[in-house]
Amino acid sequence: MTITTTDVQTPPNASSTPAKNRAGDRNFSWATRGAGMLILVVLAGVAAFLLLESLPALSADPADIEGGEGFFAYVWPLVFGTLAAALIALIVATPLALGIALFISHYAPRRLSQGLGYVVDLLAAIPSVVYGLWGIQWLAPNVRGAWQWLADHLGFVPLFTGPASATGRTLMTAGLVLAVMILPIITAIAREVFLQTPALHQEAALALGATRWEMIRMTVLPFGRPGLISGVMLGLGRALGETMAVAMVLSTGGFTWSMVTSGNSTIAAEIALDFPESAGLKTNTLIAAGLVLFVITLAVNMAARRVVTRRQAFSGAN
């Protein structure tokens, strides 16, 4: 440790010493600066585009917006659908990803864990349109019965009010497809951070007489918590913005509390399905919906950052 700290204490900023102005250094510095600037420019460009193009919809006469009651009446069911589908996906995928990641990092024999890691990564390589096909052709018919059961037995809960969809193409199904899609991201990140838990701390726990599960609870999970949260947030980001699979699987319709009937839609699916045939104010309305999605995603990411930094003094980083 002491050796590495002396390494770090070299002058942090080369420009503070009057060094020779070498062409290579200068060019590289400009290249990186340019790359850094570019990302800001692109982000600002997207934000400006969304804002400018959505202004007409935001300031239009409410009667002219689709639905006839103004933009917010139009967009909130979409927001609800987006959040509901993403939430279902998270509820299903997070514990599953946690379990897979822990199995790979701490339980499975080395050879099995490697193979399993590859398989999970492979899930991330499947295009979303394929997930959409799978959702329609296989998943929806197969989960139909389960939604029927929910409607029959838990119908008094608003979320499961019947009649259940005959095709199975409900928000619940879309959420399940999303869960499979975000599983690899969360798993991969969780696995990486779990593997980085210092052996020192794991041994400390075992030497106190901890069982393997207690060792994981005392050291691996607290150490990996910020990483797990960022993984979940990345997954949430993908679930919120995922377009193709939802547009294909979900039989869209108006707002309903029930997750097991057809109906509801998400912002991304709505834009994908309606944009090709939109014109004039309708186009602006869709772009404004896109702006709302942008804001939601931004808010989610900022919230995640707050959670991660809140107890920094207790994090494993020091």
Binding site: E203, A207, L208, T211, T219, G316
Partner: protein, 262 residues
């Protein structure tokens, strides 16, 4: 406090990592209430051996032992012995201080107590925290910041926190694997003073590279050596510390302790 009746009796112990024999044929007796130091060159198997005394070597895949280790007459490697239980009886302090970074000082001390589903009352836990931290000569330095993270302490304080954590569960034996090798001389002195205190209540085994330290803190000293790379480590001799450092019976020991080694 545990009665002084926890004699460790090691018989013909071989330690393997896979097919590699790391330690060969060690037999020794560690008397209760004593401090025993293991000295020897790097790679001679003393750290491996000390880890077999509480089955911590099993953390490494493929590690196994032959022979027996008796604590108070009971074989630690008996078929129905749970390593988790062994480690609760025989605590360990490591080379680098390793308080749990996600826990406060207080929670670090209580970490072992709260294991295996145990529940304790607040008043009781306060008492254990104070007692353990006093036992590790750390109480006065941290009593006003028990809820701060343990990783904010200095290296020497962290190591004493680890000792407090280890003695909080009231083990019979305390193993220390080079506990001062990452510490400055003043912190080292503090730990050495502490070892003389702890000796009243615990049987202590300490691995050290520092021969002055071995002669200062220990009652008995065991010298381990290795004949060459790839060969297993062996126990060369074990005797009263004074005798090992003044008049050892084996030439190799004399060469090592007098610095004429190699």
């Amino acid at each position: 406090m545990p009665a002084h009746a926890n004699r460790i009796d090691v018989g013909d112990l071989n330690v393997y990592y896979g097919s590699f024999k790391a330690v060969e044929d060690v037999s020794m007796v560690i008397e209760p209430g004593s401090v025993t130091a293991f000295i020897g060159p790097s790679g001679c198997g003393k750290s491996t051996f000390i880890r077999t005394l509480n089955r911590m070597h099993e953390v490494v895949p493929g590690a196994r032992v032959e022979g027996k280790v008796l604590l108070d007459g009971e074989d630690l490697y008996g078929a129905d012995v749970d390593p988790v239980v062994v480690r609760r009886q025989i605590g360990m302090v490591f080379q680098r201080p390793n308080p749990f970074p996600t826990m406060s000082i207080r929670d670090n001390v209580l970490a072992g107590i709260k294991l295996n589903g145990a529940r304790i009352r607040r008043s009781e836990s306060d008492e254990i925290v104070e007692q353990s931290l006093r036992g590790a000569n750390l109480w006065t330095e941290v009593k006003d910041r028990l809820d701060k993270p343990g990783s904010g302490l200095s290296g020497g304080q962290q190591q004493r926190l680890c000792i407090a954590r280890a003695i909080a569960v009231q083990p019979d034996v305390l193993l220390m694997d080079e506990p001062c090798s990452a510490l400055d001389p003043i912190s080292t002195l503090a730990i050495e003073d502490l070892i003389s205190e702890l000796k009243k209540n615990y049987t202590i085994v300490i691995v050290t590279h520092n021969m002055q330290q071995a002669s200062r803190v220990s009652d008995r000293t065991a010298f381990f050596n290795i004949e060459g790379t790839g060969k297993p480590g062996r126990l060369v001799e074990m005797d009263d510390t004074a005798k090992i450092f003044t008049n050892p019976s084996v030439q190799a020991t004399e060469d090592y302790v007098s610095g004429r080694f190699g």
